[in-house]
């Protein structure tokens, strides 16, 4: 009985959030249409939502192919950025000299806007996918490294004391205590990374590329096909939101104690 009720509640709350999402989207679309109508916007400045929707349908396969390129860049960028970030954070935790020399360099490197590096990356890695992957990886490297390092460094001392009295060596302490304790902090870093990685990929595509949603937007812009540009933008936004949602679900699934500990 109780079970039935809780299932019902969860179904209702899911419907509730779907309703809210639908209403939000409708209100935004309404506002968009209102701006177009009230200010008599020409379609080459702000196309009406219906026109953009038509473009989404008619350009479906083109958008999909370019979206796949951008998505691959984002996912590869995330993979390399997160792996390198974890590796550097571990090195800094384990080896004091690495920490002393590397941390100031890492912090100072943030003074260089990563976008300014885009043309150099094109020069070094070419106009293909590599330069965009490097760009996305570079942009997320810092948040991942710092959050992971912070998480690893701030293990509650009580856990470490307990591990010490239980005779844990350094590696077991790292693997069984420090690393899992750092996961909630690292998860915040990964959430930031998932939001930021698409920026890196698209900026890379703007600077020079032969495919991807950024490339498509640039091409449409040059031809004054603003509705196409908006369609690409909407696909990009959908992919980014979808990726964030998926990551968030996965993190909650694998770090179930996160929400509880965040409340403390």
């Amino acid at each position: 009985m109780n079970n039935n009720r809780s299932t019902l509640t969860s179904v209702l709350s899911r419907f509730d959030s779907l309703w809210r999402l639908a209403i939000t989207i409708l209100v935004l679309l309404g506002a968009w249409q209102a701006i177009v109508t009230v200010f008599a916007m020409p379609p080459f400045i702000l196309p009406p939502p219906l026109l953009v929707f038509e473009k989404l349908i008619s350009n479906y396969s083109l958008l999909f192919n370019h979206a796949l390129i951008t998505l691959s860049e984002i996912i590869l960028g995330l993979f390399f950025g997160i792996s390198l970030g974890l590796l550097f954070a571990l090195q800094m935790l384990l080896f004091k000299p690495v920490r002393r020399w590397l941390l100031p360099v890492l912090v100072a490197s943030q003074a260089i806007p990563v976008f300014a590096l885009a043309p150099i990356l094109m020069l070094w890695f070419g106009y293909g996918m590599t330069s965009k992957v490097v760009m996305a990886a570079l942009i997320i490297f810092f948040p991942i490294t710092t959050t992971c390092f912070d998480g690893l460094r701030h293990t509650p001392t009580g856990y470490l004391d307990l591990a010490h009295t239980m005779g844990a060596n350094r590696w077991r302490q790292l693997w069984y205590i420090r690393f899992p304790a750092a996961l909630p902090t690292l998860a915040s870093g990964i959430r930031v990374a998932v939001v930021v990685a698409p920026i890196g990929a698209v900026v890379g595509e703007w600077v020079g590329s032969s495919g991807g949603l950024g490339y498509l937007m640039l091409q449409s812009n040059a031809r004054m096909q603003i509705a196409d540009m908006f369609a690409a933008l909407i696909v990009l936004a959908m992919f980014s939101i979808g990726l964030y949602y998926l990551t968030d679900r996965l993190l909650k699934r694998f770090i179930p104690w996160h929400r509880e500990s965040a409340g403390h």
């Binding site: 009580g158 307990l162 005779g167 077991r172």
Partner: protein, 245 residues
């Protein structure tokens, strides 16, 4: 069973103007509870950490810790703190078997079996697969007690393990702990005079870096909270008051 003798123990934290204590002598008799009572910051936790080997090497420490059975104290202590220190990502069963995981890298079937027996003994059956966040404060501290028992060490160090619990749970856990830890040499730290009087076989006030022994009621721990204990508590409070002045 082993008794533990602490001789000429001194501790001076790096950058601190004064030593926490110097030339301290303390005997923890075998299979008995020795309680240290003192206000916060008096150094009682530092003494416990010294015994547990938890003082970092940059601080100055000296003295000798010897066990009556001639074996070293390292790896023969279990530690129970004010927080239950249950790892939130491990199930109750894995938390109880934590020592096996940390010292051998894996948990054997017979260790799981023993952990399940302990859960039954501590009235906790049915929560093996639960995560610590799903349990109440009293249950969590009982799981921590099960983990301490699972370590199966002759010496148990307890640093105010029940102070975060409500009165009823604290009372129940005090009785349970004395029952299940009766053959261990226990050093118990508290700031609560009633708790100390209830549980101690030997009681000391830690004041001005000195240990002052105190008289106890003649009954056996865990003592009932009755008029005799109340009278002792009154005397003790008066004594503590004059020491803290």
């Amino acid at each position: 069973m082993t008794s533990v003798q602490i001789s000429r123990a001194s501790l001076h934290y790096d950058h601190a103007p004064m030593p926490v204590f110097s030339d301290l002598e303390l005997l923890l008799p075998a299979a008995q509870w020795t309680c240290l009572l003192g206000e916060s910051g008096c150094g009682k936790t530092s003494l416990l950490r010294l015994l547990a080997g938890l003082i970092e090497p940059q601080h100055q420490m000296s003295g000798e810790i010897s066990c009556s059975d001639g074996l070293p104290i390292e790896n023969r202590i279990a530690y129970m703190a004010q927080q239950d220190l249950l790892l939130p990502w491990l199930t109750v069963l894995d938390n109880i078997c934590l020592k096996a995981k940390l010292s051998q890298g894996k948990i054997e079937a017979h260790q799981y079996h023993r952990a399940r027996e302990l859960l039954v003994q501590l009235n906790l059956s049915g929560i093996e697969k639960s995560l610590p966040d799903q349990l109440s404060g009293g249950m969590r501290q009982r799981v921590a007690l099960a983990r301490t028992l699972m370590q199966d060490t002759p010496i148990v160090l307890m640093d105010e393990p029940f102070s975060a619990l409500d009165a009823v749970n604290r009372y129940k856990l005090q009785a349970l702990a004395t029952e299940v830890l009766q053959d261990r040499t226990v050093l118990f730290i508290t700031h609560d005079p009633q708790e100390a009087l209830r549980l101690a076989d030997h009681l000391y006030i830690f004041n001005d870096a000195q240990l002052i022994p105190l008289a106890l009621p003649s009954s056996v721990p865990p003592r009932a909270i009755n008029a005799e204990l109340g009278a002792f508590q009154q005397t003790l409070l008066r004594k503590m008051h004059s020491h803290y002045e």
